[in-house]
């Protein structure tokens, strides 16, 4: 039983690190733009399909396709921002319009993937050598360890960017007070485009990691990852990227431990139970804004 628990903890940590990436990108987007991106999960799955195509057509291993996906999705996010978001500000009710717009984008992306790849689940038939590593009594898939490594690198890079560079500081400032950020001379449109592009880049890269870690994906998987992303950012405190990272890991561990202790059907509702409980008991999220300090 103790090995089962240990396995659950280790896998929870790895899966949680991927969920943390979902939360980090969604949180950045919500914090700066105040836009709830329903299409985030579809972007993530598009990243998985990008890795699938790069592997099937060019024989590129998933780890090599990760930076390519990140750059391509960054550029896609930049373009998509200028195409879609500034129009929202001309609406009388930009928040409701953003809900509808992002929901529409989510359906469009899912339909495009369905058209391109069909409804069947896909997986990348790539194996690391060795397939798994033994750390004490726990066996961990090598792919999962690599995925964990990538998430750690991305987290450190984002930490450096947000806390050490001027554009990063401006992004954090915009999360705290968007109007004051503009008043002091920051071009909020350009800054928002940067946030959208970074969030999209991380989403694409997360998709590659999902293709690496989880058994399969299909054009409809996006909604599931959007929901997980939303649970994570609510848990971590809306618009708080550090809180999202911690919440992602917390959620991943909770989910994996639930699958150890609870029947399959019950384990699946753990995430929603945590979400409802958090909203009822602590609407500002488990970490509020304290984690930013």
């Amino acid at each position: 039983m103790s090995i089962l628990i240990l396995n659950g903890l280790v896998n929870g940590l790895i899966v949680g690190a991927i969920y943390a990436m979902l939360g980090l990108s969604l949180s950045l987007l919500y914090g700066v733009l105040r836009v709830v991106n329903f299409a985030h999960g579809e972007l993530v799955i598009a990243g998985s399909f990008a890795a699938y195509v790069l592997f099937s057509v060019a024989g590129l291993p998933p780890l090599a396709s990760a930076p390519i996906a990140a750059v391509c999705f960054f550029l896609f996010g930049w373009l998509a921002y200028y195409l879609l978001i500034p129009r929202l500000s001309r609406s009388d009710d930009p928040e409701t319009m953003s809900f509808l717009l992002m929901y529409g984008l989510s359906i469009t992306l899912a339909a495009a993937m369905l058209l391109a790849f069909g409804a069947d689940s896909r997986s990348i038939d790539y194996e690391f050598n060795p397939v798994s590593l033994a750390i004490g009594p726990v066996y961990i898939a090598t792919a999962r360890l690599y995925a964990l490594g990538v998430t750690i690198v991305i987290t450190l890079m984002m930490g450096w960017f947000l806390f050490r560079t001027l554009p990063g500081k401006a992004l954090r400032a915009a999360q705290m007070n968007r109007e004051a950020t503009q008043i002091v001379g920051v071009n909020i449109v350009r800054l928002s485009a940067l946030a959208f592009a970074i969030a999209s880049g991380i989403a694409g890269l997360t998709g590659v990691l999902i293709a690496l870690v989880f058994p399969a994906f299909n054009p409809f998987s996006g909604a599931e990852y959007s929901i997980i992303g939303f649970i994570v950012i609510v848990l971590g405190g809306l618009g708080n990227p550090v809180g999202a990272l911690i919440a992602g890991i917390f959620y991943g561990v909770a989910e994996q431990m639930a699958s150890v202790f609870l029947p399959q059907a019950l384990a699946q509702i753990v995430g929603f139970a945590i979400l409802v409980g958090t909203i009822l008991l602590r609407p500002t999220g488990l970490f509020g804004w304290r984690a930013m300090r």
Binding site: A173, M176, Q182
Partner: protein, 237 residues
């Protein structure tokens, strides 16, 4: 012309309410223009229109000879307009130094130089010992000083101060008055909103009195103090 601000026939409506109704004035570098009026007179709306938060329905705003009417806030800031708010809008979960670095994002200067500049401004505002603290750890008065420091960081030509003395300890008020005098003497154009008439009269070269979105009187301090319309609308008897 460097920091001259000219506002002409400015109109701003919110639905059926006319918040600004043909407001006009001008101020020169080295001048303090005091803006007084009862609550709801349109003083803050005027500042919001000048700095680009609101787009005026008609009229014009020129800064240093450039028409900035209806431009976005960051463009107006780049034209040399800085402001503070009645309730300070500091970046609470960032250090004081980082608060001051945000306005100079686009400056093509080495980080070291920007940091030294930020520390010099914090020194001037007597906040240097707190430079690594988070802004939300400061008192209300200190936050007003920080917001003033953040406004001064990009060296604006026109500064707009919205109720800087509201809720501030008298000792800190005196320090703020010295800072405003220093801005004025340094050649900045200062627009000052305050209900503290003693400070307004001490600092201002010219005062405009507003009521129901209109300028009801403008002139030197002595003129305003004796203006019957101002006395009736604002000062009471």
């Amino acid at each position: 012309m460097s920091g001259t601000i000219e506002v002409k026939e400015l109109v701003k409506r919110f639905g059926g309410l006319t918040a600004l109704d043909g407001v006009g004035f001008s101020a020169e570098p080295g001048q303090v223009l005091g803006i007084i009026g009862v609550n709801g007179a349109g003083k803050t709306t005027l500042m919001n229109c000048i700095c680009g938060i609101y787009r005026p329905d008609s009229g014009s705003i020129r800064v240093a000879g450039v028409d900035v009417t209806g431009r976005s806030p960051h463009e107006i800031a780049h034209q040399g307009v800085g402001r503070t708010f009645q309730i300070p809008r500091v970046f609470g979960r960032m250090s004081l130094v980082d608060n001051l670095l945000v306005p100079v994002l686009d400056r093509k200067l080495p980080d070291r130089q920007l940091l030294e500049q930020a520390e010099a401004v914090l020194e001037q505002m007597r906040l240097i010992d707190l430079r690594h603290n988070h802004a939300d750890e400061l008192s209300g008065g200190q936050q007003k000083l920080l917001e003033m420091a953040r406004m001064l960081m990009p060296d604006p030509k026109v500064v707009m101060l919205d109720e800087p003395f509201a809720g501030v300890h008298p000792q800190l008020c005196r320090f703020m008055i010295e800072q405003i005098e220093s801005m004025r003497d340094g050649g900045k154009t200062v627009l000052l909103i305050s209900h503290d008439l003693t400070s307004i009269y001490r600092l201002s070269n010219t005062v405009i009195a507003m009521n129901q979105g209109k300028v009801i009187a403008s002139g030197g301090v002595a003129d305003i103090r004796s203006n019957q319309q101002v006395i009736e609308a604002y000062l009471g008897d």
